[in-house]
Amino acid sequence: MRSLTNDITIDSETGSKISLRELWLFRELFYFFAWRDIKVRYKQTVLGAGWAILQPLLAAGIFTLFFNHVAKIGSGAPNIPYPVFAYLGLTFWNSFSGAVGTVSNSVVGSAGLISKVYFPRLIPPLAATALSIVDFMFAIIVFFVLLIGFRIVPGLEGLLLIIPSLALIMFSAFGIGLFFAALNVKYRDIRSALPYLIQIWFFVTPVIYPLTLIPHRFQIWAYLNPATGAISSVKAGIFHQPVNWAGLGLSWLSTIVFIAMGLWYFKRTEKNFVDII
């Protein structure tokens, strides 16, 4: 049996502090949560994990057709094929939007569990984040196939930046999602509003267009958006362009702010979840 100690005290302050020790104790439950979500997601689907690849692939195809061929928006450099450029952006963007979405709905989605069993309430958001990482892993493999297909030699800097950028995406999505997850318990409007917010976020992030499309003096502010930092720096590194390290630093700073805000609001409201969920 899992138990923190043999003595528990329950009072009005219960659950208002983050206990890393307790999270560690419940690590198996976290694992089972993530495992269950992955199993359930791909049950009764024909393509299974193929969807993780097909989604960015189809989107990249559509954007190539309409953005690149019709609207004449390019990748920012003649030697970078637009489909590869767009696909790389979309794999990271899908992980970000997917994680924000699933984390935001994770608490309300686990209402049945939360109102019947005790476990650290941070576990469903954490497991939801893990789920997006799995999807990313499938999608990035196809990116390497594309690189070979288009005969592109990726920059070493870019390859080394893939994992840290994924981390940046996941941390920021976790922080933002956490805030919405807690807000969603009180205001179900979040569920309806979120898809629009994510859509707007998509267009202000240089996913399918190069950052150079933004006037130079505003570019640094675009890095306040962690998704910009992650996607622009990986793209720059892979396609042999200079990485904006200052911008990347700014993205990490804002991620820390997002996480702090998310955790603060989540923990502050956590003990009332069951009363109003």
């Binding site: 049996m1 005290t9 199993k39 049950k43 049945g112 205001y187 009363d275």
Partner: protein, 425 residues
Amino acid sequence: MKPVIEVSGISKSYRISHQDEMKADYSTLKDDFSNLLKRPFGGGEKINRETFWALKDISFQVNQGDFFGIIGKNGSGKSTMLKILSRIVSPTTGSVKIHGRVASLLEVGTGFHQELTGRENIFFNGSMLGMSRQEIRKKFDDIVAFSEIEKFLDTPVKFYSSGMFVRLAFSVAAHLDPEILILDEVLSVGDAGFQKKSMDKMLSFSEDGRTILFVSHSMAAVRQLCNKGVLLNNGRVNIVGETDDLIDKYTDILAAESPDTVAKSSWEAKKIKSNEYFVPTKIYITDLHGKKMNGHLKHAKEYWFCIEGDLETENEKFNVGYSVRNRENNLLLYMSMSTDGPQTGWPRLKKGKVTFRGKIPGRVLNGGNYRFSLIASLHNEAWIFDLEDETPGIDVDIDTAISASPYWVNARSGAIAPINKWEIR
């Protein structure tokens, strides 16, 4: 004995809105925005919210090895108490100290997912309830054997019958190994055979000296299982103590608050058919010591059925008795003074106040609700209060704890339920 659970001064308040009482207590952004616009500085008309105390200043202790019941009617706060003890909701004030590894079961099958197979659900649910992966692996075969669903282990549970689902869910729960177990109405699941297995599991758990906290609506179950408990009423502690006292208090509360739904436990002269022989004034039941009963009788005990009244005419054939009808209004028993003895033993009665009492035999009536009605007649000559009339009577309920057999949840089959002797040759 060392207390393993110490509850001190627990209170829990909720805010309830009178604006729209049917609505759950979560608002939309629109509500909060429009309220903000209406009174941007917090003044003016407030939303009509009221603080409701689901629990108020609850204190009690549970000792190691207790089978402790939490009883009370719906809305008494017992579910809230259970949720606080399970760390699902936090109290507004007060604290609980728990010494020992706790598992709490507020329902069977928490976290079961329809799309997952039986095997997968055992792992997820087990982990949810606090078992480690290693522990689940070790007990896996026992869990499967206990649930009797071996053949369907790799079928998604959405294809299970509800019986199979519940059996599997309970099996996982039954293999928890805590020092303190908190239970909520998860007992009466499955068919009779499975109930017996679950029951044995519970009892063996308790016999190991472990502590069980138990909430139930079934008074029979509480009486059979619990040695101690707390009675909650309107969010406050009514009494902490022995189970029998608790149940007596509880039935008093029920009787006082809703006389229509609970047995009418005595009768006093109202409108009756007038006659020249006997005017009954009071009808009630007492135990053998003469203590008035409140309408709840134990199957195994004997009681007195008492009739007070005024005898208006002396007649040696005068006869009183009682009849027992079940809920479906079938006549089960007919008992009267004159039919139960020889004519020489019939009493010589004098005019005036008189009290008759007749035994209600133990170990005859099955658990359930009955109506005991007055019978009066001139023996073999004429009815005074006959079997067909709406005669004065009282409602009684008899508990279902008929024997020491673990089939304790429901009444037995059949109209009556005497205990029989069995021999093997």
